[in-house]
């Protein structure tokens, strides 16, 4: 860990101004950043501590949704009565992540911005285009059991590890930000994450110095909600595949469907066209299989993660079966 300067800011705009300086990093829960600093994967020269900002509330919005402050801890968000009653998929996704201790510390904004768990990203002796652009990707021909099967290319095959973001994606959440001028921007979560392309080091559409202040949820969509996470042990393991789904059925037919997958791509993987094609489709294995095929179109494995393709198929099928059960 290198020496750094530390600053506690009094407003989101101040945070944005401070964070815009070269080598500055915002610190909230620190559950990911501090580990990365010990390993010198991150070497910030300046820390902007936002923990004292007034961003830890969950408020009702006028249209019947919720506005979640960026500093709301994962544990608090998962336990909030409104979240549990109306956004069960989000509560469950949160509780499926990390450990109780980490959830007590981790924040909503920080969770969105957590870094990949690619082993090579965490080891500065290894090539990694995300860490050192142009150095290569050790995972491509290396150990890649946890890696992506969709949305990646030969520059980087890392996944985004968040469970929370997958649930927020099916809930059509928006990320609210502020910059140093106090200008507020609302980014639909669909546009928040970027695919790696040739710049895997750029993971989101946030601009330099732009600070997340809140995540807003529209009113809950109709239908049942499920979050299913598949992992190598019962707790404290990242998703191999996860599925967040909100599906509404009537008379044996699908009225609406929202489905996002985690653990298989650099962002929560949702395809609205596939969801649209499900509207009106009869509940049953044929529909589910077709949906799974459409969802996974273009998926490819890199060796150790080949199993994720059949696994994702099975979990999609299983979740759709369960969520449409009469």
């Amino acid at each position: 860990m290198r020496s750094f300067t530390y600053e506690r800011v009094g407003s989101p705009a101040q945070a944005a101004a401070a964070a815009a300086k070269p080598g500055a990093r915002i610190i909230a829960g620190g559950t990911n950043l501090l580990n990365l600093m010990k390993l010198q994967v991150e070497t910030p020269v300046h820390h902007v501590d936002v923990n004292r900002l007034d961003l830890a509330e969950i408020e009702d919005t006028q249209n019947g949704g919720l506005r979640i402050g960026a500093l709301v801890r994962n544990s608090d968000l998962a336990a909030d009565r409104r979240i549990r009653e109306r956004y069960g998929v989000l509560s469950r996704a949160l509780l499926a992540g990390a450990s109780a201790q980490l959830r007590n510390k981790a924040t909503t904004g920080g969770n969105l911005l957590q870094r990949t768990r690619c082993n090579y990203f965490y080891d500065i002796t290894m090539p990694c285009n995300k860490r050192v652009p142009g150095s290569g990707c050790a995972a491509l021909d290396g150990f890649n059991r946890s890696h992506a099967i969709l949305g990646v290319g030969d520059q980087c095959i890392a996944t985004h590890p968040s469970d929370m973001a997958v649930a927020m994606r099916v809930l059509d959440a928006s990320v609210e930000t502020v910059d140093a001028d106090g200008e507020v921007r609302v980014i639909p979560i669909a546009e928040f994450y970027r695919l790696p392309g040739n710049t895997p080091q750029i993971e989101t559409t946030l601009r330099a110095g732009e600070v997340i202040t809140a995540v807003t949820l529209p009113p809950p969509p109709p239908g049942r909600q499920i979050y299913r996470k598949v992992r190598d042990r019962a707790s404290y393991a990242f998703a191999l595949v996860s599925v967040a789904a909100v599906v509404d059925t009537a008379n044996g037919r699908i009225r609406s469907a929202r489905i996002a997958l985690g653990g298989i791509a650099p962002k929560p993987w949702r395809i609205e066209q596939v969801e649209a094609s499900l509207i009106g489709a009869p509940v049953g294995a044929q529909t589910f299989d077709a949906a799974a095929t459409a969802f996974l179109e273009g998926a490819r494995g890199y060796g150790d993660n080949d199993f994720k393709i059949p696994l994702a198929r099975r979990i999609l099928h299983a979740v759709l079966t369960e969520i449409t059960r009469v």
């Binding site: 082993n119 150990f143 294995a285």
Partner: protein, 736 residues
Amino acid sequence: MQMNNAIGPTPLDGRADGVLGKPIDRVDGRLKVTGAARYAYEFEQGPDTTYGYVVPSSIGKGRIRAIHTRVAERMPGVVLVLTHLTAPEQGTGDHHEAHPVLVGPDVAYFGQPVAFVVAETFEQARAAAYTVRVEYDTAHGTYALSDGIGRARVPEAGGAPADSSVGDFNQAFAAAPVRLDVTYTTPLQSHAMMEPHATLAVWDGDRLTLHTSNQMLNRGQAMVARTLRMPVENVRLVSPFIGGGFGSKLWVNADAILAAIAARQLGRPVKTALTRQQIFHVTTHRSDTIQRIRLGTDENGRILAIGHDVLSGNLATEQTFEAAAVQTRTLYAGANRLTRHRLAPLDMPVASSMRAPGEAVGLLALECAMDELAERLNLDPIELRIRNEPNDDPEKHIPFSSRHLIACYQAGASRFGWNARQTKPGQVRDGRWLVGLGVAAATRGNPLQPSKANVRLGPDGIVTVRMAMTDIGTGTYTILTQIAADMLGMPPGQIRMELGDTAFPMAAGSGGSFGAASSGSALYDACMALRAKLARAAGMDSAAARFASGNIEATGQSRPLSALVGANGLEADGSIEPGATLRAYSQQSYGAHFAEVGVDLDSGEIRLRRMLGVFAAGRILNAKTARSQAIGGMIFGIGAALEEAMSLDRRFGCYVNHDLAEYHVPVHADIPDVDAIFVPELDSEANPLKSKGVGELGICGAGAAVANAIYNACGARVRDYPITLDKVLATLPAQV
């Protein structure tokens, strides 16, 4: 005393008022939960103390062309940067004998220390360590065991011989009516104990004290002396509390030698700890194995031929092999037998002992092969084992000291509900789970090691026991307290245990399940000597005297012990050495594991539902700590079956998943309902306590029971550990 004859009645037998065997709480429990128990890194040596940080190599094999330390040397607080250019010459040997560091430019494995940066604070040392730049000439290395098969050789035997052969295995196997020939593989594993390797090194003139986390202090003391080329009496190791070792701290590691060398050069104390990430490469690990099992039987399932071939790997300069076929030499009957171990030389960190070296992974293969055989013979797996229960050691044809394996099966089967098992896999559903049951044998060799003890009774009525024994979290302080209490008829509260210091009498240390028996027997011997002295002082016949409630009683007389010891107290030494009974009797502890697992119909996720271990391990010294040990071992085995594996990048020779987020061991949510019970047993041939080791027995066979339950649940016979969901996915039923 030497263990040459069976032990007759002892003061520990039939002691209704005694504490030995009772489930008493750990005597050091309060110290631990209040943080008062000090571990190696928590010792303090004043403001003069400096902090060291290891720089590991980032290549698997090659040579240092240049090492640039000038930036580091000018960083704030840095007082020393040690490299092979500045480190002293050191003594050499294999990893049991010496641990030289920074000896030259050659890099033998990924993570080998290439520099050691010492600064005023830990953070300064770490920051500077990251600036050390090394230029390497990289050489081609052989890292994967499968790539080393062609160069495999017969290892020089250290403990168990590499090979054994009885009768004519090849002929008998070829002629057997029923034959099974299967190959199992087990992965690279890391000990993953809680406390990292840590040392505080302090010199006083030419005398060195190391506060270090180490399981076998006297062995460590000798290693340090040999490495640093100094008299053994000038080296003192102190290690009163150890946060787990599992074999990783049997030998002195780089932390101790680097700290010692730096402290000598600086004339200041040096403290260091390996980081969690470094531990995976810098210290030892368990080799992966490729194991071929061949079983030939008659139509009734009686074994005619049993063969077990094991390949493991190690650094080319080491002879230690994973002795995964040792249990195959004693577990089942059969006239024709063949076991062989081969060792592939690899450019990898040193492979060495990890909890139950040999059996822990050997039984993962053998006990699953037995399950496969039972299915082929259409026999219940327990019935197959009963039919192959030997009357004596099937290789050496000497008697077993004690063996109650069948009793363990019988007790476990009724308690666990084994009869409910469906013979055909995939028959039991519970919601979206396929449910199955599995069974496997546990067995572990029962060694005894030389050990000494000193016991002293003061006029204040306090008994002080001293030995260089360690407690690695197993409960050694507690069971030794219980032994001393019963031997001398004193309440446990009056026993003071002083362990973990080579200034005390030599002791076996903690390893190989020999700790309790060896140190406890030495203490028994010392207490016997003290009893004789006390009886003499009381003018009583020591054989007839009874020690109880702090008194000595004989022929109607009773004297308080503390009144017999004079102003200076009375002390006695004791010792134990293995002897003739180790050769005359085949000594193992035994047990049976029963596991119930669920396999998720959709995902193939495998979760344990419940598990029972039934063990026969001689006298149980403390029902609570023994049960904890057994359960801990079982959980270790569950991890081996389902989760644990270091992922080798065979391009670089490094373990990719080198932290505890990515190297999976079971978490609480993985372990729902695990119980362990012991069947009554006393082993008079083992040691004066009539006990056997319990530290490793629990892991032995546990994973095989889980694997067999997975097969019973879903029909997937996975022969490549760990059994992760991707390996059972293809056998799951189609979704409808």
